[in-house]
Symmetry: C2
Subunit: 466 residues, 2 copies
Amino acid sequence: MNTTTTKKTKTDGLTHELSRLIGKENVLHLLEDRICYSYDGSKQKYLPDVVVRPQSAQHVSGILRFAYEQEIPVYPRGAGSGLTGGAVPVKGGIVLDFTQMNHIVEISPEDLTATVEPGVITQTLQNEVAKHKLFYPPDPASAPFSTIGGNVAECSGGITGLKYGVTRDYILALEVVLANGSIIHTGRKTLKSVTGYDLTRLFVGSEGTMGVFTQITVKLLPLPEKIETLLAFFATTQDAVQSASQIIFNNLLPRAMEFIDKSSINCVKGYKQEIQIPAEVNALLLIDVDGRESSVKAEASLIEKIVRENNALTIASAKSSKERNTLWEVRRAISPALYNIAPYKINEDICVPRSRILEILDRIASIHKQYPSLKVASFGHIGDGNIHVNVMYDNGEQQRALAERMIEEILRNTVEVGGTVSGEHGIGNVKSAFLSLEIPPMELGIMKDIKQLFDPKGILNPGKIF
Amino acid sequence: MNTTTTKKTKTDGLTHELSRLIGKENVLHLLEDRICYSYDGSKQKYLPDVVVRPQSAQHVSGILRFAYEQEIPVYPRGAGSGLTGGAVPVKGGIVLDFTQMNHIVEISPEDLTATVEPGVITQTLQNEVAKHKLFYPPDPASAPFSTIGGNVAECSGGITGLKYGVTRDYILALEVVLANGSIIHTGRKTLKSVTGYDLTRLFVGSEGTMGVFTQITVKLLPLPEKIETLLAFFATTQDAVQSASQIIFNNLLPRAMEFIDKSSINCVKGYKQEIQIPAEVNALLLIDVDGRESSVKAEASLIEKIVRENNALTIASAKSSKERNTLWEVRRAISPALYNIAPYKINEDICVPRSRILEILDRIASIHKQYPSLKVASFGHIGDGNIHVNVMYDNGEQQRALAERMIEEILRNTVEVGGTVSGEHGIGNVKSAFLSLEIPPMELGIMKDIKQLFDPKGILNPGKIF
């Protein structure tokens, strides 16, 4: 069957207009192409009417001017790896695929900055700046495939948050295309600037609902000379959490400090036979220390001492990159391994003040008792209180409903202990129902007013956040 | 003469109403009191109608609700040490003096956070957290007397910017009273949170024009174990600037890296006889290195090597706190010493990408040639490209006009090399005429729309920024 028909569809009309604007080679209209852009990491599926692949800010500006006039929804998309539905075109319209705007415009070792297009893969940026002995610290688990544009839109976090902060802390300047197609520039390529309101950081984490990034200037640090990894085995969660607290009390800020609970350990054991974890181990801490060689050595041995004092059963340490990879294998295996327990999962990313971690884990355990048919595994960035709570469930509407009810209880409890419903994944459409658990009506009203100011016709990523 | 008269003044009316709201002990109406609140660090003078000293967010809320209904200008004020007129009541009305809301609400070593009222002196916070071996890094020169509230309003920088960033990077959550008296809460006491728009950082640096802070939660770091100071003497500016660049190229991030030019050196020599600087010295670099003891030692000796390779004439180093103070004396003496050259000065705080520092210093020297009757001294935070350019002039309208013309040329050139007209002092009313040199009309329009959203009646610090 031929894919073109005589009846003129919405897709045909948009394809014609957009091809005129940015060239037909940059417009995808076939159903098989559009299907590829209908989903993202949240596993939802909404078919866009058309997909465009802009090559420049001018392209983006032209597309948005057109979409604004015609009031067509526009969905910016990087790698589509987001977990809260940030990139799914829930109202159809145009998907703006940024993967071809993937050039590193400049790396400036003297200024400790890099300027990139939004489609650059985060790990590509990390690797390229490393060639200059420079360091782009934000390190979401998706770094090997997610884009900087998506990271800025979601204010991505990752494993280095405790010591190095999150994406927000590294964004100096942005080129942004507004809803009506205007191109603006915010911020400066300087470490300090206080001229007027901080539009740059207002755009960071706005999830594509206020404007579309076409160029991003990031702050870099010198590349740490050395990284050392420690993997500590504990008989109880309490010992692991207490160790993490004591490390911080002792004036240490590890580059990474990952907690892995018993359910996650069990999953990993079943998934990878070569990962050897003794039966009496019920919690793990995986710790990276970085810096100058001499201080890494001092800090690693201090951490080892603290962890031992807090009843660690064993401690494995790794200095070479190969050995470090082996220790990290256990952490990396968790996400795929979880599907060994049950075919479906909801992955939350609550974040609580560090002093409340044990309390929230206890509360989650209590909540779990009311949902015996569900499985729960928790792991994540204990250093910054950011725990990925995974609720796993079997096929069926009833199981899904139970899981959602349990998630809501967990989020409610998170807010009660002073935490946030999303540490690093954003709201998208997946979590928008839970936003009001945390954000009171007046604050939410202000956010909506700001949205209205930037996007009066509601064409930018509609259906997200609010 | 009695200060009360039978004619009811604006002050009388406000005093009556505000005393009813927050108690007469918290309202100052006498002329001699109001004069104390008529100026700030910018040396302008505008008399407020009344001064209130709130003790709580509820007080602030009540005052603002009243001011909103009556459309009376409200001027929030910390220590009044700002250099761009942020606290001067240019349209009269109410000054909100926050110096009595100066309580440290909580220091949480486990969470690495502190929660404070806005009137806490920055150095008080630094000292109090240091007792817990914690570190609040932003360190403006005004830290011994400026308040955290003022620091947040201006997004203060200081000497630690290169390594540790600025105030913005340490603000986690805010309690804010809006123009109409509503109390809102933004952010979370967690290192990560991406729920909705980042209102917290939108308020940081908004100079009291969008809302008034009543509680501030800051992020803390572990206190560095050790600080070492180096003072390097150079025959040329080029050698000093080149040294600073080479230090960063060599993967080092000093806690502080201050540049002092020849004019500033000459001032200091005349001001303090005990500071001995050889005649052939035309530039200084003052460098602090901090961290773990072993790495400080390694970094300080690396820096010494780099500085020597870049033709340093001599290098003094200091390890004890007393010795460090002696070396820093030369930096601290500059500001008061400048008045030895001429009775008036305009102190700018331009910030350029580090790679353009030599270029901007050259341009300033060229501009200076056209204004031979003025004196110029430059010093500041070379590590982050933030240079305090001081234009000194004699009494008289003509001299003042010349100085202002020269400043405008310097700011224009700063923007041309990719810099910002204010690295850390803010805009206030002193620099508002220069804002459009840097911020294009569309971006400025967005900022004004946001101002309008938060302050529809224009009662919050009117006459500032725009």
